[in-house]
Symmetry: C2
Amino acid sequence: MLIERPKSITTQVSDLLAERIRSQEYAPGSRLPSESDLALQLGVSRATVRSALARLATQGLVLRKQGNGTYVNAHLESFPSSAGGLWNFLRLIEFSGREPSIRVLSRAVRPALESEIESLALQESDPVFFLQRVFFADDIPAVLAGNAIPVSSLRQPPEECDGQLPIDEFIVRYCNAKIAYDIFDICAILPDAETQDVLQLQADQPILQLRQVFYDGQNEPLLCGSSAYNEKLLGLRLVQSWS
Amino acid sequence: MLIERPKSITTQVSDLLAERIRSQEYAPGSRLPSESDLALQLGVSRATVRSALARLATQGLVLRKQGNGTYVNAHLESFPSSAGGLWNFLRLIEFSGREPSIRVLSRAVRPALESEIESLALQESDPVFFLQRVFFADDIPAVLAGNAIPVSSLRQPPEECDGQLPIDEFIVRYCNAKIAYDIFDICAILPDAETQDVLQLQADQPILQLRQVFYDGQNEPLLCGSSAYNEKLLGLRLVQSWS
DNA sequence: CAGTGGTCTAGACCACCCA
DNA sequence: GGGTGGTCTAGACCACTGC
């Protein structure tokens, strides 16, 4: 087996193993080859194999038993979020087996709201670019997401920005920055009139609200957002490993 | 600096560094000593320091910048859950700076509900031990949690079990098992009458519901639970690193 | 007892940042 | 160019599992 060098050997190994699991080459519940076997087989060191397996273990894809072996998790019905990226609604919809699409509802420059001033550490009424979108799963509206970006950090006029991009690519492309980490707050709300309308909900059907702030490597806030998340449709599931 | 051997050097190092951060010995926003410096200072290898730092980075405690250094995250207002353990309400309450306590509402053996039969892979109407508790933060009720454990996996009569234990210790003590991982589903609900009463809520105030299933190393379900979580009081916050 | 994963070390080279 | 984190290697020893 040959491993190309360009992108992180560890990543290549974990991707390869994940692929073998998804394709059932390693069947659910079965034992993987030992770390040393894999290392030999792939021509990498055992440490590298271990990093790759550790990644899969934190995603819940694989279970490790000391003195025994590494097993494919048989409870894999689904595993979005957690390691996968709670922020990437396109990917979440894809994982759930549906066809994702985006509709841009509005894109406008307006003064920052109070909550945005605080989240983004702005001055009073600095302008932000507000991008509001609906994420569809098989043409059913699943998420109503609004994101606010300080106009000062955009490298292009907002009109020229592609509203279809996932938020991380948007940041890379138009803000020339990379997201280092993000903080999510989850709460339960009753949908307002607009949300009810867009997501086709009853007024008394509570939904999840995800409030996010993304930071760059300098620890400066890049973007904040608030999403109404129809978990009846998508499911919000976390896997936690107890290493 | 002397590092005792008994428990994982990596853990000791990350605990030590976390402590230095919390005590502001490493101030918010400041740069930590380099990996090599720390390795020398603590008398361990650089690889060990790196594992420890990696752990802190995934918790959002620390930011790493290639070619530059490792910095204390200045946005540390709070960071429960994610790495910390969403399941451990006592710890979450403690982290939020309040005094946690538990009241046992009911402890009973009853036939498994349909959802429990499915989650726990039981036979029809196998008996389960149902433990219902309220978690208080400074005497304000924050979480109403119900857990169901198959009676067949208890080593002691249910009456003799300590209802004050965190669920993982409960499992270790009374089921002689260790939790390998758990799966969380989060959704938004309107509280039923009992929940309204216990958590002192209005009928139209939506709350979070956490449904959990815990599995052991054999990938067998150990326990399932459903909790009503007052996020207005506790906050449900996740930190995601974008390595 | 042999085989597995868990931990740790020492040393190497690279990519990136900044003065 | 010098220092930093990012990656990888090779080899060692330990703890646990199951036969």
